[in-house]
Symmetry: C2
Subunit: 253 residues, 2 copies
């Protein structure tokens, strides 16, 4: 069971979701390029994810890593995702192996498979009665260079698992929003991930016993085109939210 957890990109949105529910569950070491603007649990390290020495140092005494750091913009240019997302993720895996860390949970993205949303499939695939499902066994089809960088992070994880026996879970995060699901946006509702389901899923990634996994990070939405079966079976993910229980910003169920 993980006790000391390094959270990279701690000041970002996914980091907030994770910490909002898990602040008291672990001894946290938080890492971000920018210093914190609010009070956060544990120890805070200000460092760039591409700084090998700083990341190596931040890894000492850590049981598990939740690696969120990187350029989060779907329109991020190659000149940013190459160092920050691809190389930065390699730095994290490398330092984790060196420090004897057990598990890295990596924030991948729905953009790694964005081009499955073809004109022929959409908007039908976003609807409850459509059977189309991606389950993580399919080859990536990135929708942008950001998505390429996330799929490359998955690839690197596969390598560090196979070569060094590091447990790696890649979570293809859907549309993470605080409170209610996206409004008037079928696609976003189909891939909604609530804050508490996000925190719970990353907790399962650092608690469960597995080798290498690619799972989808969405709530249990009636609308969905990403399967959450693998996350349920292997990680023990039990989502509590469903975008169908909302009408706009009001919970109706």
């Amino acid at each position: 069971m993980a006790q000391s957890v390094l959270l990279t990109g701690a000041a970002g949105r996914v980091g907030s979701a994770v910490l909002s529910d898990l602040a008291d569950e672990y001894e946290w070491r938080l890492l971000d390029r920018d210093p914190p603007t609010e009070e956060l649990p544990g120890e805070f390290v200000v460092a760039d994810i591409t700084d090998e020495d700083a990341v190596r140092e931040a890894m000492v005494g850590i049981d598990a890593v939740i690696h969120l750091a990187g350029d989060p913009r779907k329109e991020a240019p190659w000149s940013s995702v190459l160092p920050n997302n691809i190389d930065g993720t390699r730095v994290v895996y490398e330092a984790a192996v060196e420090a004897g860390v057990d598990t890295v949970a990596f924030a991948s993205s729905n953009h790694a498979v964005g081009h499955y949303e073809t004109d022929e499939r959409t908007p039908r695939m976003y609807r409850e009665d459509d059977e189309f499902r991606l389950d993580g066994t399919e080859l990536p089809r990135p929708g942008n260079l950001y998505g390429v960088s996330k799929a490359a992070g998955e690839l690197l994880g596969r390598y560090y698992h196979d070569e060094h026996d590091l447990s790696v879970a890649c979570v293809r995060i859907g549309n993470l929003t605080k409170g209610h699901p996206p409004i008037d946006y079928e696609r976003g509702q189909a891939m909604w991930l609530s804050y508490r389901d996000c925190a719970h899923l990353f907790q399962r990634c650092i608690e469960a016993d597995y080798g290498y996994e690619i799972v989808y990070g969405i709530s249990d939405n009636d609308r969905k085109y990403y399967s959450i079966e693998r996350a349920r079976e292997v990680l023990g993910y039990e989502p509590q939210d469903n975008s169908a229980e909302w009408n706009g910003d009001e919970r109706v169920v």
Copy 2:
């Protein structure tokens, strides 16, 4: 039908194989970091594959690209494959799209799937009577960081195809040797690619009509654990060689 072909990494081993049979078939523009040491067909451009301006200029008037440039060492460090193999391949796709090129054939590698060769499967999987086959639909399992970089090049190709309608064929090249197959090396015999089959396969990649393909580049060896069915069906690949027809360095069939 392609007429003007840009061959990157022209001075390398795969480049030699391609040019040995196809020198008179196309108007060649050859690009390599190093100037040629022998007489080669067409025009020669000395440039680094990561030099965006040089690659953009080399792409003008080109119908198809055979992209071989990159660090070819299976033990190449990340500090080399990140710029040369990953970024360099992105430079090629980007310039190809900009110049309106139809097709890019990309030299991927068996190392993109090296970690399928587990202790449980080997050496059995290298033998004629074993049924294990990879066919290009499986997720990559790179055997080294060089393999990660090649799988990343495939990913980038998927993106440039989906986003810009560039035809991209990724050829996971096996063990390319001139003359006879590797001797006393079951694995190398199972993934042998003869020079003439290599040239023919890359020719099919720039002549056939397809969208995005991942194929294995091996001869029609009796021993094999890579399927060549997809290359046959979609590209019209008709290999002439088979490592089983050799005993050491002597052809016996």
